[in-house]
Amino acid sequence: MRFILGFIGSVFAGILLISMIGNLSTYFGNKPAPLAAEEFHLEPRALHLKSDGPFGKFDKAQLQRGFQIYSEVCSACHSMKLVSFRELKGLGYNDAEIKKIASDWKTQVPSINPDTGEASTRKALPSDAFPSPFANEIAARAANNNALPPDLSLMTKAREGGASYVYSLLTGYRDPNTYKNEAGKPLPNEAKPTGTLHFNPYFANLNIAMPPPLTAEGQVTYAPGNPKPTVDQMAKDVAAFLVWTAEPNLENRHAAGIAVTVFLLIASILGYLAYQQIWHDAKRAVRITGPLDPENQAKSKRAKAKQGVAG
């Protein structure tokens, strides 16, 4: 049986080695040129938020600013289907404010006319999820040059880099005609955006359908006492807000995490001490019955005699 299995193993290994040699010779025989997406794609710039780290908590003023940007800018195209108005409590709004935000929301909730039974719409309630700007995917694509604006509920968990990615993307639009990468190489013509696309080195294939959403300082008016609404500040605020929409229980998680880790740390230490205590006797028992054990003494005498050592 071992011969059969050895043969099978050799066949597998042989095919793999032949494939490897084949692949390497193809590669070195005809080296492919690097793709523009590899040469010009950038990793997100790090964004540090107050919600980072094991003790991180949300900056509620920043979340409210981010929510303002979502309502005034992003929500024109992007849905947020998993988030309900009632959850805005986590941003520090009270019940009355939430009720007003819901009923003033620019899109109404699809409903049924209670008298005629016909399709109609009604004002949103705190218990409703945020109504989507488009009725369905076809409507969304028709309004956006056949591109589909993704739902933003989980955006910071659904992209590599999370909040840093959102921040980098929103501030990452560049002029494709003057842009040079870190090596000083200008963008080749075939990688430049065509039609309605826009160049953005933080986007996976460099060309994104979304036009730059944050374009000028003062695009939204922040309430007094807030920082100046520069493009950079607005991008940070909306990224912070999207961390909250993706993970509204983050503060609970951090707080519970401290309690659980401290508990388990104490349990480990006490458990370890108990283990030492229980094993102490077992180790001593070994020591006492060990070298002084008549059986072992006889053995060591024999060994010493063999080596010609006295005693």
């Binding site: 597998f12 793999l16 998993l82 968990k157 993706a246 349990a267 108990a274 283990y275 070994v286 060990g290």
Partner: protein, 438 residues
């Protein structure tokens, strides 16, 4: 159960005596994981991982049952029930879900350490072949369960992972495609597939629990192995499981749960893939389809077959991938060396560590996007994987000169004390001997 000096169960409380006379359940537990199970006294910390695997199986079953109470197994409701209802509205739903997600990863981490412990110390050798094989059955069931569980949130990776993995079956000629359609209940993963995956994902953990009982039962016939690989000879070689190993397992379990808690509370999505937070879309293929990290080595083997040598490359890949696990069932007969423990096998030991490095490389290649050098590296590493088990191991076991074994476990434990008692410089510890556990 296994040794003549195993303490019999003596009920202390009249209620326990009453129970024991009618249903000897306390006797069974006492003999299995209590003071009635003598265990070699020299176990090191690698022997803690079986108990840990049991703990993580329990965590998965408990969190999974509660999650199932809030989960909708429908293609349009599943994603929202997980990411909306459970993560936002269910009391501590986020904790259940993140524990279940990361619990699966930790279950695999401790199981992989448990398996490699077995590979190094020859735990698959006689008389424990069935313990090893039942363990492999558990591992296969775990893989099936984990794969189907990953499909349930119906995100992009769920959907495309299901598409790719069920696609393996279509590699087989003639019956392949009908088999795939029959398994999925359709031509592509859809409602029929999701519902049956949910049903099986709920069933299989209990099957695993059943096989775990067989695994432990079979283990208790010869008793636990030990780092020297030398058989237990006298009572001096052993300690009762309780309180000695319950204490050791207890504190170590608290410590591993601490690591688990840190990941679950502070980096819950680190081991997952961001694409699974995008709802499944049959019309948009993700740029890089990758399974969960614990399947990466096998995924690397699958992708390494790139030429149609007599059979199509895809079929070679699928055969090799299944073969890479199935060959482990033959391990007790592939490795013929009479010495169990790798500690006394100098040549085996070197190849063992080469295998560990090899599997880590395969894992890396399987998880990363393919390019020319990763493909070549994956092919080399896959070739070594098969060569290691099917060619090198039988040859090593036939030609290797092993180091001298200690005559008994207590002697291997005693060498430290003997050195301590003798004047310095007169007694040297034996080469390859293993220190006392703890």
């Amino acid at each position: 159960m296994s040794f003549s000096w195993a303490r019999p169960y003596e009920p202390k409380h009249p209620v326990m005596r009453w129970l024991d006379e009618r249903l000897p359940l306390p006797r069974l537990v006492y003999g299995a994981i209590g003071g009635g199970y003598p265990v070699p006294r020299n176990l090191n910390y690698f022997w803690n991982f079986g108990v840990l695997a049991g703990i993580f199986l329990t965590i998965q079953i408990v969190t999974g049952i509660v999650l199932a109470m809030h989960y909708y197994a429908t293609t349009d409701g599943s994603f929202n029930s997980v990411n909306g209802l459970i993560m936002r509205d269910v009391n501590a739903g986020w904790l259940l879900r993140y524990s279940h997600m990361n619990g699966a990863s930790f279950f695999f981490i401790v199981t992989y350490i448990h398996i490699f412990r077995g590979l190094y110390y020859g735990s698959y050798k006689a008389p424990r072949e069935l313990v090893w094989m039942l363990g492999l059955v558990i591992y296969l069931l775990m893989m099936a369960t984990a794969f189907m569980g990953y499909v349930l949130p119906w995100g992009q990776m769920s959907y495309w992972g299901a598409q790719v993995i069920t696609g393996f079956f279509s590699a087989f000629p003639l019956i392949g495609e009908p088999l795939r359609v029959w398994l999925l209940g359709g031509y592509a993963p859809d409602q029929a597939a999701l519902t049956r995956f949910f049903s099986l994902h709920y069933l299989l953990p209990f099957v695993i629990a059943g096989v775990v009982i067989l695994h432990i039962w079979a283990l208790h016939i010869p008793g636990s192995g030990n780092p020297t690989g030398v058989d237990v000879k006298t009572e001096k070689d052993t300690l009762p499981f309780h309180p000695f190993y319950t204490a050791k397992d207890g504190w170590f379990a608290a410590f591993v749960l601490l690591v688990f808690a840190v990941v679950t509370f502070y980096a819950p999505n680190y081991l997952g893939h961001p694409d699974n937070y995008i709802p499944a879309n049959p019309l948009a293929t993700p740029a890089h389809i990758v399974p969960e990290w614990y399947f990466w080595p096998f995924y690397a083997i699958l992708r390494s077959f790139t030429i149609d040598f007599i059979l199509p490359a895809k079929l070679w890949g699928v055969l090799a991938m299944f073969g890479s696990i199935l060959l482990l069932f033959f391990l007790p007969w592939l490795d013929n060396s009479p010495v169990r423990s790798g500690a006394y096998r100098p040549v085996f030991k070197r190849f063992f560590w080469l295998l560990v490095i090899d599997v880590v490389i395969l894992g890396y290649v399987g998880g990363a996007p393919l390019n020319w050098w990763r493909t070549a590296l994956g092919q080399l590493a896959s070739a070594y994987y098969f060569a290691h088990f099917l060619v090198i191991l039988p040859l090593v076991s036939a030609f290797e000169t092993t180091d001298p074994l200690p005559t008994s476990i207590s002697e291997s434990v005693l060498h430290g004390e003997a050195a301590e008692a003798a004047p310095a410089g007169q007694t040297k510890p034996r080469r390859g001997s293993v220190a006392t556990a703890g």
